[in-house]
Symmetry: C2
Subunit: 413 residues, 2 copies
């Protein structure tokens, strides 16, 4: 160590501070790319939700209604899917390029497979060789795969501010999807004329939506919150609540008025379309945030590089000027400040990411059920949901019990 000149050692500490800053910028740039992908995925999900609704009406009306709306909607879905595929391909440029790459890419592979099944699904819908429930389930599966991609993106964010925005986005998208599933369920109920055994499932869809929007509200930026609360006070929401009440507790014996089906569908669709505008607000906030954070971090990097430049300046025939106590002090301050800041960021990040835990718990319980009882993902989820209904518990509580029980039962765990 004595071989090192003091100047070169200070320089070496500083260059690692600079390297740390460069890593931060690299991570932020990666996040900016991922955020763009998330916005695009949101648009594809919206198109698929519309296509699911149109297909349901088509199948429910024995092909009499919405036949002419199918092809243009399929085209819109396909065009967006092509864009999403292009972004997927851009994302991968070598094993080191993507944080959380292993999980993200496995999710993407599942989505690509789901998109692959779309043409076959549409053929069967056109030929009406499958029921509305089967068609709904296929779209739900594909959309859930796309949401899993968004989840991985939110889960792997390293900047707490960007992570907040992504968590708000993911929860909003998830809530919107539950709203879409509620639309499909309600439509079936109104067309069928009675709620039968769907009442609890309906309640669950309402509850999970509300929880998602609550988490969204905890993490969203002001503009998105304002757009959202303006919508919640619209007249259509009162109508939605009225139809929910009518649909879920019809006077005993009396069948539901099938005409309400159209009103229900319109009212839900209006609400879901309005949610798209909230998503757009979230997306532009996310974009602006990434840009701002990159710019900030670049400015800080430039400051550090300037000091590093002073230290590296070739000294020519004169001996290098010694590091003044002031410069040394400022490097020490930077060291301490940067470490504390990164520590605080990582704590904040832990807090934000904790809000994603509910989904993690449900996913894990689902995986345990799939492995233990050799079930498909759908069947495992259905089992969970039914257990929750029978026990009048939240899905996540049932999932937690399964995990606890598994840990007690399995000696390896």
């Amino acid at each position: 160590l004595l071989l090192f000149h003091r100047r070169s050692i200070m320089k070496s500490a500083l260059s690692f501070l600079v390297a740390a800053r460069e890593c931060e910028i690299g991570e932020l740039e990666q996040l900016a790319l991922t955020s763009e992908l998330v916005s695009l995925v949101g648009r594809l999900i919206h198109a698929l939700q519309k296509e699911r609704g149109i297909s349901n009406v088509y199948l429910g009306s024995q092909g009499r209604r919405f036949a002419e709306q199918r092809a243009p909607q399929a085209l819109e879905s396909d065009q967006l899917a092509l864009h999403v595929r292009e972004r997927f391909d851009e994302l991968y440029s070598g094993p080191h390029s993507v944080r959380n790459g292993a999980r993200l890419f496995a999710r993407i592979a599942a989505v690509l497979h789901g998109l692959d099944e779309l043409p076959g699904l549409r053929e069967r819908i056109g030929a009406r060789t499958l029921g509305a429930d089967e068609s709904t389930a296929a779209f739900v599966r594909l959309i859930s795969g796309l949401l899993a991609v968004v989840f991985e993106a939110a889960d792997s964010a390293t900047d707490p501010q960007v992570s907040r925005a992504l968590v708000a986005m993911f929860n909003f998208m998830q809530g919107k999807e539950f709203a879409g599933q509620e639309r499909a369920l309600g439509a079936m109920v109104f067309v069928g004329g009675h709620v039968d055994d769907c009442e609890q499932q309906w309640q669950q869809l309402i509850d999970t939506q509300e929880r998602c929007f609550q988490v969204f509200a905890n993490f969203a930026d002001r503009a998105a919150l304002e757009t959202w609360s303006a919508q919640r006070n619209g007249p259509k929401l009162a109508e939605l609540e009225r139809l929910r009440r009518v649909g879920r507790s019809p006077r005993s014996g009396a069948p539901l008025d099938p005409q309400l089906g159209q009103a229900w569908y319109d009212c839900c669709t209006h609400r879901i379309d309005a949610m798209r505008t909230v998503e757009d607000t979230l997306a532009s906030h996310l974009r602006a945030l990434c840009e701002r954070r990159i710019e900030q971090t670049r400015a800080e990097l430039r400051d550090q590089q300037a000091i590093l430049g002073t230290l590296s300046r070739p000294s020519g025939p004169q001996p290098p000027t010694p590091i003044g106590p002031q410069l040394e002090r400022s490097i020490l301050d930077m060291l301490q400040e940067q470490t504390l800041r990164l520590q605080a960021m990582s704590d904040e990040l832990d807090t934000v990411r904790a809000s994603l835990n509910e989904r993690r718990v449900v996913e894990r319980a689902k995986g345990l059920l799939m492995a233990a009882r050799k079930l498909s993902e759908d069947a495992a989820y259905k089992l969970l949901r039914e257990a929750a209904m029978n026990q009048s518990r939240r899905l996540v509580d049932v999932a937690e019990r399964i995990i606890e029980a598994h840990e007690l039962l399995d000696p390896k765990a």
Copy 2:
């Protein structure tokens, strides 16, 4: 989407599975590098711990003892430090190359600055212009910076098995450092002749050591555990416990026999040197584990690439053979299996990483104190430690209260 041939779409899903696997390998290779660094850092810490002990004896004996051992020990520390520096430099090869780079590099910068201060520190020790406590504090700071590098490495591991090994390693190294600090404290007490107000601090060093070794025991491999428990039953440990008892509760009024100082020092040193062999066992386990995991994952990657090759084979003048239902089934199985496996890995990882939380909580409370009361890191830690002693609470409990209080007090939190 209809433009795509089924074969090419299946291929595209599979290539993302392959990409996911490549990312896993990339992360494992990174972990292998980090693990080598961690082993080397362990050796540097051991050398610095010896140098700290020698310096203490030298200063405590007014320069009469260990004068001739100082230079060779400094040389050993310096040589290891040079190796560590080289590894640090190798680690950085572009902003995307290191997971958790921002935090890791900021920690490295702090270590480099600490190493920079070593020559000056040694000069003052040689001239005996500083006390043993000041010298100890400087070494403690440097070693704690090196442990922070190991912590970041353990915290950023993405493979649960490797993460377990790194968590075991970090906790063992941290426990060993507390054992080193106990050696220094005990030496001061025996030389001074009375325990004074160090009694609680001594107890705390024993408790935190035990907790570290407990976590180590929860996560370590069998070979390391066996090496460790063989040592715990050695005759030297009984002697250590006896000296702990004598040193901490001397008969009232009667000063301690200063001759016990040498016995204490030898007995602690014997124990700490033995810990080095446990660390070596941990390090070779870590190395073997990384190699095995890389090999496994490469074999799995080859299988997937072989299937991908089948799909990509140019079909010549004949139309491409359609994908048989069997091949399609096996791709679907791979999709499901890989997603479930990654999910399970990530859950297991969360569980392992949770054991690092105690340190995170203490670090955060320290950061809050530093910011709120404009304290140095040392002073903030001392304040925490004193509060824990006064309240007869564990350090981490006091830290948790500070964080809770801060969240209540600070409207932004």
